[in-house]
Amino acid sequence: MKTGQEYIQSLKKMKTEIYFMGEQIENILDSPYIRPHINTAAVTYDIAFEPETIDLATAVSPYTGKKINRFTHIQQDAEDMVKKSKLLRAIGQKTGTCFQRCVGWDAMNAVYSVSYEIDRKYGTKYQEKVIDFVKYIQENDYMVVGGMTDPKGDRGLPPHQQPDPDVFVHVAERRKDGIIVRGAKAHQTGAANSHEILVMPTVAMRAEDKDFAVSFAAPLDAPGVTLIFGRQTNDERKLGKLDQGNPTYGVVGGEALVIFNNVFVPWERVFMCGETEFAGMLVERFAVYHRQNYGACKAGVIDVLIGASAAMAEYNGTAKASHIRDKMIEMILMNETLHASSLAAGYESRPLPAGNYYPQTTYANITKQNITRSHYEISRLAHDIAGGLLATLPTEFDLKDPVLGPLILKYFAGAADTNTLDRIKLARLIENMTGGTSLVESMHGAGSPQAQRIGLLKNANLKQFKQMAQKICGITP
């Protein structure tokens, strides 16, 4: 297993081609835009060595019998699925933001399970290759990007009918030794500071989409892979410190557009190639694994937000007001509901045909559906409690000015005996945790809200419910 520092050192060896603000970033470790995301990912490594989290953050590999970082584990039982939820909350509490590494973890579990089912139908040998890849990741303790979302072009058209086929990753050429892939994956969390990407299809497909039904793994610095790092609302803040709110760990995960321009992938790393009827299954598997997490990592992040709001109320002198206490209750209610459904999805998880455990689908969908609302609502309450200074505070540079600084401290003072600079820090934390970039992740990550609603209806036993009602009111069918 790697420590956080060893993980950071390992990134130095990567030759990932990455661009931001019109320039190529040669050294991501020194980039103020990317560094906070690296620091956050490093926590997923360090936490595996801390006594109070070793049990949550490590597991024993079923393939090598060695102790591994849990972020590389194939889920063996319901306890693993519960520990996943608790681990993510614990890291959210430490970082206050997305720590990126769960996406690739879920992708490995999803691909592991579906490759087994493809093999069962076609006699292919995909799962062996997936296990080889998983072992490679476990042995090196690498960070993997979960590459599902294609740019998708016209959402009303299937992949093969898109005017530009590159809006879906596809096989451009089949060779004896492997495949050439072209296209892109959008919004890829942690891509700038990961080692590998595990690509999966993003929609269910039909026979004509054969070339688009592809799953594979590739190093992020493979020839032909280019990253364009995404802009965040707090980019400029990263050139300072205090105004970032969370200067060490930043906001969300640091997403990038990952472009595959005729990238060669050897057959050993190809896990699906043309089996279109399994594309939808893989999308659902990954999505359900990932949806469980939103009541875990976000519960930890929201713990920090609730704490910041409670502290802010004290600085404002409003902590005892009944409506403030009521708002704190609302925040707790929503957050613990999120975590409860994530835990339930874990406790009620079941083995898939491949043997690895899978969250209870409805509870995972509920978890994700609720975060698309609750995170916004909790943020609204945090804004309400904190006050308008969230939007109007002067900059940290004015604060440092010998004339303006004291004026800012004088006029932004809160309750007696509270430190005004600390009040400003809290305001910045709340502002950055509830800004655009942070919230959109809760809306669209692991699929837009409608995707969960479709899942909820699909799995609801309406026929039975109707019969229950009919029986009670005396209707004979």
């Binding site: 006594p51 109070e52 989290t53 070793i54 049990d55 949550l56 490590t58 102790k67 306890e79 520990k83 608790k86 681990l87 909350r89 614990a90 509490q93 519960a299 930890g300 713990d303 975590h339």
Partner: protein, 101 residues
């Protein structure tokens, strides 16, 4: 002597679990006890450190266990500061080892 230690996830901690265990460690004679956080086979005793009264930590049924659950140890309330010495006392009773707290 090998003593197993397992912490809960810490979603709702009323006590500083890490600090409590650091205190326990400091109260024990140096070098005599080895805390083990992962491989719990053949432990002389096992300490389950829960942040709240829910006490979600699971432990091997075969172990001699001390369960800290927030301010409570086995039904008795302690202040946060006195939790560590209570743990040491229980450890002494479980292992038959005379440890002066």
């Amino acid at each position: 002597m090998k003593v197993g230690v397992k912490f809960c996830g810490g979603c709702n901690p009323y006590i500083d679990r890490k600090k409590v265990m650091e205190r326990v460690k400091n109260m024990l004679p140096p070098g005599k006890y080895k805390f083990e956080y992962f491989d719990w086979d053949d432990c002389a005793a096992f300490i389950a450190v829960n942040g709240c009264s829910l006490a979600c930590v699971r432990y091997p049924a075969s172990q001699k266990v001390i369960v800290v659950s927030g301010f409570e140890i086995e039904g008795k309330q302690y202040s946060e500061d006195s939790l560590a010495s209570a743990v040491v006392e229980k450890l002494s009773a479980l292992t038959g080892d005379k440890i002066a707290p």
